[in-house]
Amino acid sequence: MSEPFVHIANLTVKYQQKLVLQDLNWVINRHENWLLCGTSGSGKTTLAKAIAGLIPVYNNEIQLNFTLDTHLPAQVYYVANWYQFKDLEGGANFYYQQRYNSQATATTATVRVELNEFGKENNLEWDKLDHILSALGYAKVIDATLIQLSSGEHKKLQLVKAIWLKPQLLILDQPYNGLDTRSRQNLNVLLEEISAEGTQLIIVGNETELPATINRFAEIKDGVLQEISSESRKVNAAEILSKPVPAFLNQSAVPVSEEHIIRMIDVNITYSGKRVLKDINWEVISGEKWLLQGHNGSGKSTLLSLICGDHPQAYANNFHLFGNKRGSGESIWDIKKRIGLISPELHWYFDASATVWQTVASGFFDSSGLFCNPGSTKHAQVDELIGYFGLTAYQNTLMNVLPLSKQRLALLARTIIKNPEILILDEPCQGLDEQQTQHFNKLVDELCGYGTTLIYVGHFESQLPSCLEKRILLEHGEVKSIESILQSI
């Protein structure tokens, strides 16, 4: 048998003096495609980055033997779960509402320019790209600027590049996050195609809908990697969220009423002549539980940004929030006070130099980072909720040194800390494992039982809270249907 493609022997990685991986061994032979799973924070991403050369490894513990028998580039390419793009001046200081503003001069490159440069750097042929773009439904955003893309569209851009490149080893970290159902299926078809041409895959995450070419399975536990069978890869999540909900959340946020929380009449959103929301009519009454669905780029985030006071064009529309027409003298802080929001964009642009404790406490003030002293009552509530989410040990840790899943838990705690009247949960469980997701959805069900209004966005049908009653489906910026979902789920 020929030498293995990847040979890892006794790999130890420390992160800020803390042991993440210890004496880890892994052999990847030719024609093997692996799934690498493990609980949140087990070191999956660290290992993936080490293989890709993005984390320094000292004693030659990772050997890569690229083959010369192929035209595929002798490269490991890593697609991160998260990707931070830069503006034209090299800065990355964005805020999540920025994509909704309209500014005469573009500050970020377009997708076309970005792909063009990537293609040039790697000597790729432009005509090979069309197939990938159409499979992922991506051709329509080719002239958008990076700042205008939704989180799912950013994810796809990274995937498009990787598949176009066809490296000898492709590592995909939680590639399905943020993708709609159809895109997930088409991604698997594309991955099978490049795998047939010789690209070997490592998919990182606890995924269930995998491409058929995945033929080996491994799990990291306590810093050590073990091969497992495909059936036994149900992960035992840590004991979290199984305690009783803190008492201060255990009550209705406001007296239940029949008040209209949201009333949109023929709402339109247009950027330089291009309409992204068309004649939206939608009413949400206090206490209703809505599921908001639609493909990547169908306008879901834009719709939610209107509700959260994040979109400047709210002022030009016939749109009532909490009984007031937008632009009748209310401030966005009056609005945000009543809303608990989590979204991929919010996480993406959140101030990662805050500690977990500050992050959770900032939910009382709807700020990204904590800028004032919350006082002793709120202080105690933050402590209690951090305990409930199992984050007490990390409360003084900066967000940017935690794995994404822990960051996400802290942000979920931030979302509910003030017991808001309305919860807007846009893919709240991205990056969480299955059990954490179930626990969180159970918590949502419980909170909603006290009369909280809910708008939930989720791409995975199997991972939704059970309290959802109604569904609004968007397609190309229009309301495709509004229906009761008791029968359809």
């Binding site: 800065g91 005469a104 003298g329 003030f365």
Partner: protein
């Protein structure tokens, strides 16, 4: 019109220069109420205009924009900025007569023409708001007596004003009321409300005066902020190339170094910046920065004197009248420097390496900040005002150099700052010629500690630390920074 400051008796000069009160957050409990329901009309829709307007509207205020007819008909960028964000836009004639507050956010150079055009249209008892006092103080604009004249000056670029607001914070802000134009005594209430509307009240507000703002702002931007950063960058780059350091590396070290170094300044003042050096490098940086202070002090004093006497604005306005002849020539010359024309190399420079290999810039920054602060305070400007216009703004300007070098810095800052920057730079370089012949690559380009024994004398080190830590700018800065704890840290390149 004549220079307003020069018409004042000495007593009143000192009085206005001395307005400086760091405001308690309880001063802002009334929120935006003083402007609620009032019509705010912003003149101009560039970066400050658009971003302040977005914040004010999101705070529940009624905002619209007025532009010159040509800008509206030509659908210029300012018109696009305003209309595409769904603001009402109209001509002066359409919007000014109904405005309760007219917000002048046009460039300095246009102020006289703009104010002369809008003043006859303004209704009785309206308010005129500026972000910079040049027009009132240096050009001596006389505003109709029934009009209230106030200033709200966010101390950050427009994009930051917006970014910090939506994060739930704000940027440090100066507010002022013009004593000649406060007929109803409502100026301060409106200035505070406007400041709340832009989010500034959360990040520390300094009550100032038009006079104090202008005289300190001009001094800061000409000397430490833009002038010295430009001089130091060019001299450092040229020295490295002369001594055989790879130009790509030199370009990168200079472009990003000043940002990384001043980030420490932002977080913890000169003390924190100096503490990032090893003991031996700190002693050396202290020694040469003392030398730099001695060499440059007369130049700093000349700039401050010319600003106070009005000489600076006189010659700059002469250049305006000559079609910006000097400004444009100097701008072109800056574009031709070796630093500007050499792209940053594709080398990785670690965060600590920027300190260890660029000790010279640490010395430049310490010397410049302390000198600017000392000179301003000696001229009658209060220490808090002097802090804002020296130490506080240095990292903000350094960010612009990191983005696209000196060209970018000079594009972002006002024409007034740019003019003063070149003026300083041209006088400063010859002053430092002899000093620079004694500088080698251990201070710029290579690790200062390399090949040296790290030992220091305890008593020398203690004395140097003491001198750094007890400087007046450090005492004042520590107090003011408490109110700005949440300023974002930058990412290194």
């Amino acid at each position: 019109m004549s220079n307003y400051f020069n018409t004042l008796p000495l007593r009143e000069k000192l009085n206005q220069l001395g307005v400086c009160d760091f405001m308690d957050s309880s001063e802002f409990l009334d929120g935006v109420n003083a402007l609620k329901g009032k019509k705010l009309v912003i003149v101009g829709c560039g970066a400050q205009g658009l971003n302040q307007g977005l914040n004010l509207r999101d705070s529940g205020l009624d905002v619209s924009y007025t532009l010159r007819k040509e800008a509206i008909e030509g659908k210029r960028d300012s018109w696009k900025n305003a209309t595409e964000n769904n603001f009402n836009v109209g001509t002066y004639e359409e919007l000014i007569p109904n405005a309760d507050v007219v917000v002048n956010l046009t460039p300095d150079k246009q102020h006289t023409a703009v104010v002369n055009a809008i003043m006859p249209l303004m209704k009785q008892g309206a308010t005129l708001l500026y972000s910079h006092g040049f027009n009132i103080v240096e050009e001596g604009m006389q505003v109709r007596k029934d009009i209230t004249v106030i200033m709200v000056a966010p101390k950050c670029p427009g994009s930051e004003v917006r970014a910090e607001y939506v994060r739930g914070f704000g940027v440090p802000t100066l507010i002022a009321v013009h004593p000649e134009n406060d007929p109803e005594g409502k100026g301060l209430l409106q200035a505070k409300a406007y400041c709340v509307g832009t989010g500034g009240h959360k990040a520390g507000v300094l009550r100032s005066s038009f006079v104090a703002e202008v005289k300190s702002d001009l001094m800061g931007e000409q000397t430490i902020l833009c002038g010295l950063l430009q001089t130091g960058s060019i001299l450092s780059f040229d020295k490295m190339v002369e001594k055989g350091i790879e130009p790509g590396y030199a370009s990168k070290l200079v472009q990003y170094g000043v940002e990384v170094i001043t980030e420490a300044l932002k977080q913890g003042g000169i003390t924190a910046m100096m503490d990032r050096l090893s003991n031996i490098a700190k002693l050396k940086a202290f020694e040469i920065s003392e030398e730099l202070k001695t060499i440059m002090r007369p130049l700093f004093e000349k700039h401050q004197d010319d600003i106070m006497s009005g000489e600076f604005s006189r010659i700059m306005m002469e250049d305006w009248a000559a079609g910006d002849k000097n400004l444009l020539a100097w701008r072109a010359a800056t574009g031709e420097t070796g630093f500007e024309k050499t792209p940053a190399g594709n080398v990785k420079i670690g965060e600590q390496e920027y300190f260890d290999n660029y000790t010279l810039m640490v010395a430049f920054v310490r010397a410049g900040v302390e000198l600017a602060f000392e000179t301003m305070v000696e001229a009658g400007i209060k220490p808090e005002s002097a802090y804002y216009e020296s130490l506080h703004e240095t990292p903000l300007i350094a960010n612009t150099i990191a983005r696209k070098k000196l060209f970018e810095m000079n594009r972002v800052i006002s024409d007034t700052a740019e003019y003063g920057c070149y003026l300083f730079d041209h006088a400063c370089k010859p002053l430092l010629a002899d000093f620079m012949t004694r500088i080698d690559t251990d201070l710029v380009g290579k690790n200062f500690n390399e090949g040296k024994d790290g030992a220091v004398d305890n008593r020398t080190l203690i004395a140097v630390n003491e001198a750094i830590r007890t400087h007046h700018v450090e005492i004042v800065g520590a107090e003011l920074r408490k109110a700005m704890t949440a300023m974002k840290s930058i990412k290194t390149a």
